[in-house]
Symmetry: D2
């Protein structure tokens, strides 16, 4: 049964699987020295601009840890939101694998601002304090919100003015760009972003992400680091083929836009249900909500989704490239029914 | 010129230096297999109880990182206050050297409570989240406050009930015990603490700390880890001799009590000065205060001390084992003068 | 053009690709809590015995580093051959990512013996020396040789008698088992092996390996460690489907046996060519050889393969599941021609 | 009882202890921003040349690990002898704390040569191999031998020609320089060495080493790294005072020369004893020897010393700044007696 648990519960988009099959001919040089990888890297340049240098990797945690290892020296750290995936959902990999300290900031909506970032910039030059080097934002955020290009531009300018780099954890960058109606570059390269963990898995790939550097003269040793950080695929052509399918046409955008539309539809349908409170702006493919007590458990008997915040009971409903309107409508109806039953029971 | 910058600006207590000189005879087996070390370990058992196992190390950061490496497996983390020394003043060593993620909590006074700790206990068993293993508190705290034995008991009970261990960063444990008027065990072993980084340097040693484990069956491999964590002194007898001087008589307590008394005297003398606000309870050897604008800079022309919080201007005045009443009185008078001059200027 | 460079230049076996496509239906719980993963784990138990516990991962370096992180505490190390993949071909990941020291031993054929292992067992209990915990052997080895079951049994008995564990880097375990004509368990579980990095990628998968533990009470925290070590696939069903294709029938064996047969055929055809010296026993899917000067470069104009030892010029020819008899015959003829031309030129 | 176990069994030279006492006045800024540290750094420049930049640390393992962390990026490694202290006697700290892979080489006398180093320079640019960055030699070596200035010059030239740096583990550099009758610079700076772990502890300090960089533009972030690597003393003046005592006059040389002379005397006295074989050239303060079976154990009943090689029984006798001629003569006589008794018993 399909549900609203996560966009990585969805399968492989048929066009992506076809691209893998198409690449499955003959022998190809391993470890990314194959023509498919060259083509994928070219497409990433097409989308992110001619300065884009990219390294394909297995998963998002890998892309992020690799980014931090490449952009930070050991005495440098990464500023991020308390709710950032790198802080709460990567099993301590940034610290244990990369040795990177995360300098966290509380945020109501998962979004950083120059003012917030500034709080970590007071100990510059003190050998007792980790020196901030990277500001890492998630676009779209873990809370389903997104940064406007202007907001990212302000963060990038502030970062650069303070000798920092701006990294985007873009496991759902496509959802943000599709929601904004802009290109991938418009929400990254064009607003001063230095590095992106560009996600594919949540947007219909079997599995694959790309670390993309947009600024020259950063990321020394990245090719060595990717191998050492356990992220070098031996049959690299099959990672590359997936990105070719995603980026050669509009698949990246149509899939993401569809997921976004399903989230908007869901939010619209439940927003006015008595007892339901939508807790975050719906700007990508997620809906966050508070429900009357007991309703979430009842809904989970038939549809899987996660409680986001155990302390408050806030739930998260995630839509994906393959969520259908019928599924949204049926679930919205179930929410309404469960809330009504709950209200009646009170 | 002596000032109020830090208790580690002070020198070596004469009795400690004499003990080093006394140990400087003949040859002794290196790396801690000497009689002085055995005697120091015996004294630590006398003070912390018969279960105490100890490892002498070079410095406080070393003791803390060693503790975390010994008590945590790689997927486990340490809960601490945002203001904890391990979080803000150890150059990212817990993360970069130990691979340990710190799970921080905001506190007004540097003190944790079971309720605060509980906020990090919701993700138990989730492979995506670092699993809390240690609660680390500082006694006395970085803000000059201290835990009452009951407060530590509550933290220990809560930790144990949740499968966690309680670690005390005790670089100023002597100040806390002296302030409470109790033994070292009374504020550690007797209230359920599992491990202590017991500080000596800030209490009159040339340099030396002890990692003391109070609970059986924890800390596997610690002897190997001390060596690997760069904390094994080759001429161990000279670390040990310092602890003998500190612990064989009352030196640990008289030195700490004196420093505490000087802080209390300073606080008493400036508390009612117009323009001065004491911002934290004075329970150890530190005074935190807000001063009228410009006053701190003026005072610094003659006496060294630190601004604690760059964003607010809050200052910290630290007393040590060798601070004199005359120095306190002169400084308090200088504070009063500077404030008066400032008020007059307004 | 297909060549003899590496078994990971080959593509995906059609049955494996079909299994991926078959698993691409509906939604499935992410991160390995799906029915395909349960089925793959069951098949691994069928092949390795009922004690086998397994964790699917992305690649071989990931499996090995994960194994070492799970089996060693920080003060413990891994004994291996100087030529071991973990020592020379993993970009320093065991050390940089796992913090694991490798205790290497020179070997003529890539194989360890109890006597060799014994050389690293003299410093037991010395805090200045890393304590050996794991003996890691490669089966089949990086030099195309393999251990007989008796040899592994002797290593396992010796390891266990000394408090060590025996790990098999089995990126080509199937080739060894197929060559020996035995089950996977017969060359691992049944002879006392504790842990296996079981390779799939070189045997026809798109990409996937399994860390398999065969002994109870080892590998604490492995589920957390897999996530932290960047090896947890979000769409885990597609890793699992590949292993189902490999292990549900005989595919693992028929593919490996075919690759082995091609290597034997190649060796047989070139062994008596004047100027060619086969340098290692051909017991899996690789042929190592010395060629007259200039011959390797000439052959490389048409067929890709690697020089194994830059200092001697020794070459490696690798066969894979899709190498054909015609390709072997054509290459053997090219070798003979090039050698003859070289001899004529002298 | 004094013996021949290790030069770190000796105590503190009286002049060093006096210097500590002399520095114990008033308050001093912590963490190395005190006048004693500035003076020690000046003296290190006097001895190593005007380019020398230095960081005082606690111990030799700390200095070495700090050097490797500062000179290598994560994908780079350190070439050293198999017998190097960093490889066998530092508890795996280079790997576990620094993440640094050691690329070892077998040597009969503990000394590297350009030819040996060259064996590790064949995989340049291959992302699967750690990239050598530092050649680390020990001067004098762990086997009591030493490099002539020409030998070091050859290593430095070879290293630089290959883009590498030359590091000297100089825990006994003073013994080498004294033995050669040259300045500290003559065996380091003047022959192209880039970095030195300059030892003090084995030459009469309470405890203290200095990491000294001799080449510009290396070691970025070292001040941060020292703190993070747990090697920043809070009361830094007492580290510095020791180096002042050692370096302001000739103490470094007279102490080392004395220890060397005692080793030469011992070797001369036992060299012709029947049954004794001196196994290494005696070029510093150590004597390595093979003894008739049982003799070592008998000697150990009265004098402590170490077996160096458990597999052969080779012993090491170490002399220190405080070894007396009478002690040497008595021990040599005991060796002769024990050997004679052994021969008689046969």
């Amino acid at each position: 049964m399909k549900g609203f648990a996560s966009d990585n519960y969805a399968g492989i988009h048929p066009e992506v699987l076809a691209a893998i099959a198409e690449a499955n001919v003959d022998h190809a040089v391993a470890y990314g020295e194959d023509p498919w990888t060259a083509r994928a890297e070219g497409l990433l340049r097409d989308h992110f601009g001619p300065s884009a240098r990219s390294w394909l990797v297995f998963n998002g945690t890998g892309a992020n840890v690799l980014a931090f290892r490449a952009l930070c020296r050991p005495w440098q750290g990464v500023i991020c939101a308390e709710t950032a995936h790198v802080n709460v959902d990567e099993g301590g990999a940034p610290e244990a694998i990369g040795g990177t300290k995360l300098l966290t900031l509380p945020t109501p909506d998962g979004k950083l601002t120059p003012e917030l970032v500034g709080r970590h910039l007071l100990g510059g030059g003190d050998e007792h304090a980790v020196q901030p080097r990277v500001v890492s934002v998630t676009q779209s955020t873990e809370l389903g919100t997104r940064y406007e290009p202007d907001e990212l531009r302000a963060l990038a300018d502030h970062a650069h003015a303070n000798g920092l780099l701006l990294h985007v954890d873009g496991s759902r960058l496509a959802n943000a760009a599709a929601g904004l109606g802009v290109s991938l570059a418009a929400t990254t390269t064009d607003v001063g972003v230095d590095a992106v963990s560009f996600g594919g898995t949540k947007n219909g790939l079997l599995g694959g992400e790309a670390l993309v550097l947009l600024t020259d003269d950063i990321g020394e040793g990245l090719t060595y680091l990717r191998k050492q950080t356990l992220q070098l695929a031996s049959k690299g052509r099959f990672l590359a083929a997936q990105f070719i399918a995603l980026l050669e046409g509009d698949l990246w955008r149509t899939s993401a836009a569809h997921a976004n539309a399903m989230a908007s539809r869901l939010a619209a349908e439940v927003r006015d249900v008595p007892g339901v409170t939508i807790t975050q702006r719906v700007q990508a493919n997620a809906v966050f909500a508070m429900l009357p007590e007991g309703v979430a458990d009842r809904l989970r008997e038939v549809v899987r989704f996660y409680t986001w915040d155990e302390s408050t009971g806030e739930v998260r409903w995630m839509c994906s490239w393959d969520t259908t309107e019928a599924e949204v409508d049926a679930f919205a109806a179930a929410v309404a029914d469960a809330c009504a039953a709950r209200v009646a029971a009170d």
